[in-house]
Amino acid sequence: MENVSAFGPSERPTRQTPAGPKRRGPNLHRFANPGRFLRLSGAILPWLTVIGIAVTAFGLTWGLFFSPPDWQQGDTVRIMYVHVPAAWLASAGYFSLAVCAVLSLVWRHPLADLAAQEIGPVGAVFTAICLATGSLWGKPMWGAWWVWDARLTSVLVLFFLYLGQIALIRAFDDPQRGYRAAAILALIGSVNLPIIKFSVDWWNTLHQPASITLTGAPTIAPAILWPLLYSAIGYTLVFAAIVLARLRAAVMERRVRTLLLARADHAASGAGAVAA
């Protein structure tokens, strides 16, 4: 977060000290301009969607039909290609909610609020996929659909945090209050992310520890690892595409509402002028 100060002009440019260091780097408030955002995202979205679906289809087809079965889990290991990327995206989605919350609370970035509103349901769906496929995997391998170990419980808490965020951000008549409350919830909830990640190392759990770490070689043979990575990249692109499409719809909806309000105002003031 070193280039935090490079995020651009404050909302009150007059308060800026002219003697301050010249700000360089990307200016995130550029994307606050809805017209520019719609133009840019409109150009990216078709590519993102097509490539995302293609990579996901490639990874899942490879994993589900052509990769070798595991020596002890047999074909059941194929659930991994659906389960693990969903689990990664569940956490990554919540992390992006937390980033949006900081952008909203500190920099008052208008798109961050809308993004948080649109990321929530998508992240919740990916978390639900992770929980459902994990349960389907647990029964044949562990012998239980569900256990209350630290990993499973913390991911269930993540799901409820998503549900809370989805409800809270839509709970107020004044959207600004909802944005702020949901941003605070997202930030407090983000303490759950390291708990999810390290639960399998800190406490003994039924869930096995991570196979892919920063420090060591992955403990997955390449023939199983490659389709998993393609599937994960595809999931990520699809997640981004869904969020971007929802975000575009939200920006356009807000635009339409503003236009309608302006027209109503205009009509009201016109009528008032006639009445006077």
């Binding site: 920099w107 012998g143 003994n204």
Partner: protein, 172 residues
């Protein structure tokens, strides 16, 4: 200090507060957050008699005996964590992944004679995934026997080309 800077500092302070509060709480409840106790935990901190808890560890090689009582399969085996072992008896069907050298978690009570009577047995697998030919090559090379515990680190695994070369050599 601009308003933005002030909000950022406030947020960071709150983050440190919430983070350390969570860390302290988790450390305090650490004993209750574990899913199972290891055999060496039982000697260090024996549970009260009759208390139902989960016991976890590796199924010791050569310790698994299967019998039947009427129509119910009975399994007895030893669970070890390398420092201590506990003898477990279980009446019921074991999960498919259950075998010697595999992790297991059993729910039950400690009997007065020091054995553990399980009412539920789960299989816990490790974080390695490999095709059958890699596992076979590892076993053949003598680096690993599945009954002895988890496989060696991935850096010791044979590559696919090495497996292919060994297969063509054996074939020709």
């Amino acid at each position: 200090m601009t308003r933005k800077r002030r909000r950022l500092v406030l947020l960071l302070a709150c983050g440190i507060g919430v983070g350390s509060a969570t860390a302290i709480a988790l450390t305090a409840f650490s004993d209750n957050l574990v899913f199972f106790k290891a055999p060496s935990d039982l000697t260090r901190d024996p549970p009260p008699p009759g208390r139902v808890f989960r016991l976890g560890g590796l199924v010791q090689a050569g310790s698994l005996e299967r019998t039947t009582e009427g129509r119910t399969p009975i399994a007895t085996f030893r669970v070890t964590d390398g420092r201590a072992t506990v003898r477990v008896t279980y009446a019921g069907i074991l999960p498919d992944l259950f075998r010697e050298g595999q992790g297991t978690v059993a729910l039950g009570t400690l009997q007065p004679d020091g054995t553990f009577r399980a009412s539920e047995v789960l299989a816990k697998h490790d974080e390695t995934y490999m095709p059958r030919d890699v596992a076979d090559a590892l076993k053949k090379s003598g680096h690993w026997h599945p009954n002895a515990g988890p496989p060696p680190p991935a850096s010791k695994w044979p590559t696919e080309s090495a497996i292919e070369a060994a297969r063509t050599k054996a074939g020709g």
